[in-house]
Amino acid sequence: MIDFEEELKSYEPSLEIEEAVDNIYGHDLTDLTDIFREMLEESRRN
């Protein structure tokens, strides 16, 4: 049985055009290659 209120919480507002730029700049683009690269650099420093 679907709980309407709970389902409604899963819906988020769509990104509007005016907010797109901020969203892009605030978007976390970190990927696994970045993480591995940092790990390698840290291991080299150690």
């Binding site: 819906y11 769509s14 990104l15 892009i24 990927d31």
Partner: protein
């Protein structure tokens, strides 16, 4: 290590591409996001994610991905072309913006529990942007909440055509199918519930049929009769008294008006009667005035006749004329003349009458004598110390008229007591019997004074 990550990312891109090709857009988006988490510079994966978003009706999210992609690879990047196409089409850009705003507004309505407005808003969104999966799902959710499973199912099928493996869409659809399977039983149960009225009386739940149909002919006739009875009672107790009161009021008004009319007529009659009385009074006054004038005129004429007769030495005619004169109607000068003539005429008239009467008496002509003596009585009863009065009584007595004789004897006895004539008169009266009968005779004689007996 890096090559392995890039290879995995590429593999995921391929999986995303495969899923997108079979319109498993949500699955493709999920795989492509994972691909980009492994290697953010996977330009084809990011561009494809943008396309998937765009196909799902998420224009802004698509553009965001393409902008990032273009940022990572400014040259030879299809994302630039996608962005260029959108930016060169302001109408499409405006549509994306409007649908996004309306969708957000619909979501807000849902949160504010304004579901009707949310449904209207979502229908507008889908009429402009039918690819927006989330709008389909939200609309279906609202329909499900309102138990309108048919509409929800229809919306979800449209969503499935766009995104065939969307888990949310499938879950909602499954709910709809189950609900629609339960629908006949539910409707039947609701119908039964509608037909039953339940209420609690004390500790007991009372259940009775909701509608009690009395279609029997007997009940119908009974209802009609009850209605008629109520109608009659209402008419009798409410309408009839009102009508009676109105009639009574109208009658009272008419009676009042009639009374007023009668009072007016009576007043008019009274006024006319007063006028008649006044006229009668005037007529009476006029008659009296006329009689007075006649009397006055007659008096003056008789005075004139008396004067003429007196001038011609006809004393008898003068005396008769003077007897007809009423001195009260004469003015002062005429009254003086009347008194002068009357005094002189009367003396001569009475002397002549007495002489004639005495002559007639001596000759035995008692009737003539009576007439002459009566002329004197009219003017002066005490003429010659009662000679004329006594002679008159004697003449009546001689003539056999004892009744009138008694009248004048009685006057003699009264006016000249203790005289020979009085004693003679008393003797006569004693012989005659001066009783009550004499009183009647006296009255008759009194009449004779003005009208001598024949």
């Amino acid at each position: 290590m890096f090559k392995r990550l890039i290879a995995t990312s590429n593999a995921l891109y391929n999986e995303g591409l495969r899923r997108a090709s079979i319109r498993d857009l949500s699955g493709a988006a999920e795989v492509l996001r994972t691909s980009l988490k492994l290697y953010k510079l996977n330009i084809p994966a990011r561009n494809l994610l943008g396309l998937v978003y765009f196909e799902m009706g998420e224009g802004v999210r698509a553009m965001a991905e393409w902008v990032i992609s273009k940022n990572f690879l400014p040259e030879e990047n299809p994302a630039g072309r996608y962005l260029e196409e959108i930016q060169n089409n302001p109408t499409q850009l405006e549509l994306i913006s409007q649908t996004t705003k309306k969708y957000n507004q619909a979501l807000l309505y849902c949160q504010q529990d304004s579901r009707d407005l949310a449904v209207i808003q979502l229908k507008k969104v889908l009429s402009v942007n039918p690819k927006m999966i989330r709008a389909h799902q939200l609309l279906a959710l609202l329909y499900i909440q309102e138990q309108r499973f048919d509409l929800a199912k229809k919306t979800l099928r449209n969503a499935l055509k766009l995104d065939g493996s969307n888990l949310t869409t499938l879950r909602y659809l499954k709910e709809c199918n189950q609900a629609l399977k339960r629908e006949p039983e539910r409707k039947k149960k609701e119908k039964q519930e509608e037909q039953l009225n339940r209420y609690v009386s004390g500790n007991e739940m009372i259940i009775q049929p909701g509608k009690l149909r009395d279609n029997t002919a007997l009940v119908t006739i009974l209802n009609i009769l009850i209605g008629l009875a109520i109608g009659v009672l209402i008419t009798w107790f409410l309408v009839v008294p009102g009508v009676k009161m109105a009639v009574r009021s109208e009658m009272n008004v008419q009676v009042s008006e009639a009374n007023e009319t009668i009072a007016d007529k009576e007043q008019t009659i009274l006024s006319l009667q007063n006028q008649i009385d006044q006229m009668n009074s005037q007529i009476e006054a006029a008659k009296l005035g006329e009689e007075e004038s006649d009397t006055r005129l007659t008096s003056y004429q008789q005075l004139l006749n008396a004067y003429v007769a007196y001038a011609n030495e006809d004393v008898n005619a003068a005396g008769q004329a003077l007897a007809s004169v009423n001195a009260d109607y004469l003015d002062t000068t005429a009254q003086d003349a009347y008194e002068t003539i009357n005094t002189q005429v009367n003396e001569e008239y009475m002397d002549a009458a007495y002489k004639a009467g005495d002559t007639a008496y001596n000759e035995g002509h008692y009737d003539d004598a009576i007439q002459e003596f009566l002329k004197i009585m009219v003017l002066d009863e005490t003429y010659h110390s009662g000679d004329a009065l006594y002679s008159l009584a004697q003449a009546y007595s001689k003539n056999g008229d004892d009744q009138n004789a008694a009248v004048y004897y009685r006057k003699i006895a009264t006016l000249y007591p203790d005289t020979q004539r009085a004693r003679t008169a008393e003797r006569f009266l004693e012989e005659y019997g001066d009783t009550a009968e004499d009183q009647g005779a006296e009255n008759t004689a009194a009449t004779d004074e003005t009208a001598p007996a024949e």
